[in-house]
Amino acid sequence: MQELIDRAKALLEDGTVRRVLGWKTGDLPYDPEPAYFETPESLKDFVYNGFCGANLSKYMIEASKLEGRTLVCLKPCDTYSFNQLLAEHRVDRDKAYILGVGCKGKLSMEKIKAAGIKGIRSVSGAELTDPAETLFFDTLYGKAEMPYRDAMLERCHVCRGKTHAVYDALIGDSKDTTDADRFDEVRRIEALSPEEKFAFFQKELSKCIRCNACRNVCPACSCRQCVFDSAKFDSAQKANADSFEEKMFHIIRAFDVAGRCTDCGECSRVCPQGIPLHLFNRKFIKDINELYGDYQAGADPTAKAPLTSFTLDDAEPNIVAERG
């Protein structure tokens, strides 16, 4: 992390960048928050560890409108989101200095709490230089530890690799964390009967409080005018009047990002209700891969998106009924 701060400081001082977009220490040792740093002195609060899950690429939309270049710290998965925004002309490549930071898997506070570790005073083992094998906690109730892997976010278990898709400089080591197939859960749900599928989604989606966190954090969900902000829309910014609305909201949101979603998993990470929102996006990704050929949004900013292109012999929609 010191290496990161030194690099950022040097670039700020020599005027290459005007500001640094990274994370700063939060109130608690496990809640760093995205922050801008404009002076070399302010970088003393800079932090980068296993809890820095936030995808900073979306902030580059606003930062692209500012004077001068912005140094942005992007993890391997975040660079896909940046590339996708680049393809959509939402960010300016010349306004960004991308510092590709290493990643050894990001941590989920929910999983740590679920393991019974509470009252955390300090955490060690989550730094970028640590081997990411075990986490050590100093809690109000004494010392505790848990395997790093067990505390990782769901998305890190299905990580698509630690290669940065776009960067100006790289810093820090990464570690492969993949130990599952990202479509396993989607396949499990697909195999259920309509009644069971419906019961599953009803249970999950009825938790939705329409806080719009998933929309606001999603790099793909960055339309200047959002359909959910329209007063005429049934699922407009308000509490749900009936249970169809939350379904409608999530189907529409997933559809709007279909073919553009890089599967960064931010929606599920920020959901205060713990709804596995990535299941919608992955269903679309799986269908796109199966029907229109493998496609990874953001891997190539010049590639045509699956929903803005077609071939003459695409599958007919009735394939859905045919394959059961």
Partner: protein, 146 residues
């Protein structure tokens, strides 16, 4: 004949493109080919005008089945509209199936202006299918009620 109040009458929304399928429906009418009155036709400029939200909204407001009819691929009045519609509808229907809405309730058919007979046959078949699936209770207990 007294109307049987108990009998299930499905509500079916058919989105028909202005250039082919709507004309096909017209032809079915002028050729005296019958299809059930349960089908409510909504005319759209092109099959790709149909926003996925239209389909969701139809279900929300009480439809038991939704069918989209457009020009045959390659015959779109706007050259390529139905190719985009095809991809969108495939993904949307797959998502609805994933959510537990029976896949028989959604359908896409390509009907040209000369295919009045196909239009009537398709609608008869689709209504029968919805009859066998019954009322859309799964979305029914969710949707707005007046």
């Amino acid at each position: 004949m007294p109307i049987n109040q108990e009998e299930f009458r499905p509500l079916i929304v058919a989105f028909c493109c202005n250039w082919c399928s709507y004309a096909g429906a017209d032809l079915a009418g002028s050729s005296r080919l019958s299809y059930p009155a349960d089908v409510k036709i909504i005319r759209v400029p092109c099959s790709c005008r149909v926003n996925p939200m239209f389909i969701l909204r139809a279900f929300e407001k009480g439809a038991d089945g939704v069918i989209l009819c457009g020009c045959h691929p390659g015959d779109c009045h706007y050259s390529t509209g139905n190719y985009y519609a095809r991809r969108r509808m495939t993904l949307l229907f797959s998502m609805l199936d994933y959510l537990g809405v029976e896949n028989g309730r959604t359908r896409v058919e390509w009907v040209s202006a000369a295919e009045g007979a196909k239009f009537s046959a398709t609608m008869n078949e689709f209504v029968e299918k919805i009859h066998s699936l019954g009322k859309n209770v799964r979305l029914g207990d969710l949707r707005c009620r007046n």
